[in-house]
C-alpha cells in the first residue's frame, strides 16, 4: 500500500512541465497589472456616475410622489410590495436599489398581462427575503435587442435556473449570465425576439424589480443593418473578463453571446462600415487596444455570429 502511494507520488512529480509555463504565468501577471490600472480608473468613474444617477432619481422620486397623474398610472402594478420608483431611462440606461452585500438573485418569474409580460426579479439575503433591492443597473441596447442587468453586492445567482422559464416567453430569445471579474457583481443579458417597449420598476418590502415588456412598432428606417466593432468569440471564462477590461475605453461597450454559444465584447456599432473601420483603427492606434478586433455586419434582430481568432 505505502509502496503504491509512493509510486503515485513519483508519478505525480513526473508530470511533465511544459515550456510555456513561465510565459503563461508572466502573461497572467501582466493581465493583473492591467487590471490594477483599470480598476483605479474605474473607481473614479463609478463615483462620478453614482452622484449624477442619484441626482436624477431624487428628481424622479419627487415627481412620482407628488404628481397625481403619475400616481394613478401606478395603481395596477404587479409588484407585491410598495413601489419605490419607476426607473427613468437615460440613453437606454438606468439604475436603482441601495448598496448591500451578500445578496442572492434568488429567482426570476414571468407573468403575462394581455400582450404585456412582466419579468420579476427576486432577491434574498442570508436566506431571507430581502426588503430593499440591492443596487442594480439596467441598460437596453439594440442589435440585437438586449437588456443587461447588473446587481451589485450579489454573491450568488440562484436564478440562473430560471433562464429556461424566461426563454419560454414569446418575447425572449435568450437569457444568459455574463462573467464578471468582480465577485460581488452578478450580470446577465436578456435578448428579445422583437422590438419591445419596456418599463422597469423597483419595489420594497419585499424587494423586487419588475420589468414590463410589450411589443413596439419600429420603422424600416430604424432597422437598417449596423456594423459592429467586436472581438473574436471565446468560451465563458476569465479571458472574456480580461477582454472586457481592455475595451473599457470604448464608448458603448457590452458583452454579448453569439449564435454558437461563445461570448465576445463589442466596442460599439455604427451605421456605416467606414465609420466602424475608423473606430476600430482609433481603438488600436489611439487607445492601444491589442485585442484583435473585427467588423461584423448585423441586421436589426440578428443574434451575432461566432468569430474565431486566428
Amino acid at each position: 500500500m505505502d509502496k503504491k502511494l509512493d509510486d503515485y507520488k513519483q508519478a505525480y512529480h513526473d508530470i511533465e512541465i511544459p515550456e510555456e509555463l513561465a510565459a503563461v504565468t508572466e502573461q497572467a501577471i501582466e493581465r493583473g497589472k492591467l487590471h490594477r490600472k483599470h480598476a483605479k480608473a474605474r473607481t473614479r468613474w463609478v463615483k462620478h456616475a453614482g452622484v449624477s444617477v442619484a441626482a436624477v432619481f431624487v428628481l424622479f422620486t419627487v415627481s412620482v410622489n407628488t404628481m397625481p397623474a403619475f400616481a394613478s398610472a401606478l395603481e395596477n402594478v404587479p409588484g407585491l410590495g410598495k413601489l419605490v420608483k419607476i426607473l427613468q431611462f437615460n440613453k437606454g440606461s438606468a439604475g436603482g436599489g441601495t448598496p448591500q452585500d451578500a445578496v442572492d438573485v434568488s429567482f426570476i418569474t414571468v407573468q403575462k398581462q394581455g400582450d404585456q409580460e412582466n419579468i420579476i426579479l427576486n432577491f434574498t439575503q442570508d436566506n431571507e427575503v430581502q426588503q430593499n433591492a440591492s443596487s442594480f443597473h439596467v441598460s437596453f441596447t439594440e442589435y440585437p435587442n438586449t437588456m443587461t442587468f447588473a446587481v451589485g453586492g450579489a454573491r450568488r445567482f440562484s436564478a440562473v435556473k430560471d433562464f429556461e422559464t424566461l426563454k419560454q416567453s414569446p418575447y425572449i430569445e435568450d437569457a444568459y449570465e455574463i462573467i464578471s471579474l468582480d465577485d460581488s457583481l452578478v450580470r446577465f443579458n436578456v435578448t428579445f425576439t422583437e422590438a419591445i417597449a419596456y418599463e422597469v420598476k423597483e419595489y420594497k418590502q419585499p424587494a423586487q424589480v419588475v420589468i414590463t415588456i410589450s411589443p413596439k412598432e419600429v420603422t424600416p428606417e430604424e432597422q437598417q443593418p449596423v456594423y459592429s466593432v467586436r472581438t473574436a468569440s471565446v468560451p465563458y471564462g476569465e479571458t472574456l473578463g480580461v477582454m472586457e477590461e481592455s475595451l473599457l475605453v470604448a464608448d458603448n461597450m457590452r458583452v454579448l453571446k453569439d449564435k454558437q454559444g461563445g461570448y465576445f465584447v463589442e466596442a460599439g456599432y455604427y451605421r456605416t462600415e467606414a465609420e466602424a473601420q475608423e473606430k476600430m483603427k482609433q481603438l488600436k492606434d489611439e487607445f492601444g487596444v491589442v485585442e484583435p478586433l473585427f467588423v461584423e455586419k448585423r441586421e436589426y434582430l440578428e443574434v451575432p455570429g461566432g468569430i474565431v481568432a486566428r
Partner: protein
C-alpha cells in the same frame, strides 16, 4: 529573503516579489491543475487564472505566512471552476480531442486511473496530503472543512484506493 518576508512585500504591492513567489510555485500549481484536467492546455489556463486572481487579490491576504496555503486554495478553486464551466461548454472544434501526440508516461496513467476512483474532494485531499505533503491542518484551511472531516476523507480515500489496488493485483 524567506517566503514570508517576500509575501509581506508582495502584499504591500511589490510586483517583483510577487513574481518571484509565483516562479517558486508555478510548477506545483501546474501539477495540481494537470491532475484535475489531464491536458496541457486546460492546465495552463488554470495556472493563468490562478496567478491572475492571486495578483489582483494579494492585498487582501492578511497573514503573509499563509501565502502558500492561500495560493493553493485559489488554484483548487480555479481548477474546480474550470471543470464546472467546461461541462457547460460544448467545443465546436475538435481541437481538444486531437492532442494525443504527446502521450503521458505510463506511471502517470496509473496515477490517473487510481484517482478516478475518488470523488473531486477526496482527490484533492489525497493529492495535497500525499503528493504535496501538506499538513492536515492546512488542507482543512484550503477546503474550508473541519479537521475531522479531512481525516475521515483521507481514511476513506485510502481505503478506496487500497481496495481497488487489491483487486487489480489479484487480477494481475
Amino acid at each position: 529573503m524567506n517566503q514570508t518576508e517576500r509575501a509581506q512585500r508582495a502584499i504591500s504591492g511589490d510586483e517583483d516579489s510577487f513574481t518571484l513567489l509565483i516562479q517558486e510555485s508555478r510548477e506545483k500549481i501546474y501539477r495540481m491543475a494537470f491532475t484535475y484536467v489531464r491536458n496541457k492546455e486546460d492546465a495552463l489556463e488554470i495556472v493563468q487564472e490562478t496567478v491572475y486572481r492571486a495578483f489582483i487579490s494579494i492585498h487582501k491576504l492578511k497573514q503573509p505566512q499563509y501565502f502558500q496555503t492561500w495560493l493553493i486554495k485559489i488554484a483548487v478553486n480555479c481548477a474546480l471552476d474550470h471543470i464546472r464551466k467546461a461541462k457547460k461548454i460544448v467545443y465546436m472544434d475538435k481541437e481538444h480531442e486531437g492532442n494525443y501526440e504527446q502521450k503521458p508516461r505510463e506511471d502517470v496513467i496509473d496515477l490517473h486511473d487510481a484517482l478516478d476512483q475518488l470523488d473531486e474532494k477526496s482527490r484533492t485531499v489525497i493529492m495535497l496530503r500525499y503528493f504535496e505533503d501538506m499538513p492536515i491542518k492546512d488542507i482543512s484551511d484550503v477546503l474550508d472543512i473541519p479537521l475531522s472531516s479531512v481525516k475521515s476523507i483521507i481514511y476513506r480515500g485510502l481505503e478506496k484506493l487500497k481496495v481497488n489496488i487489491g483487486e487489480r493485483e489479484s487480477l494481475g
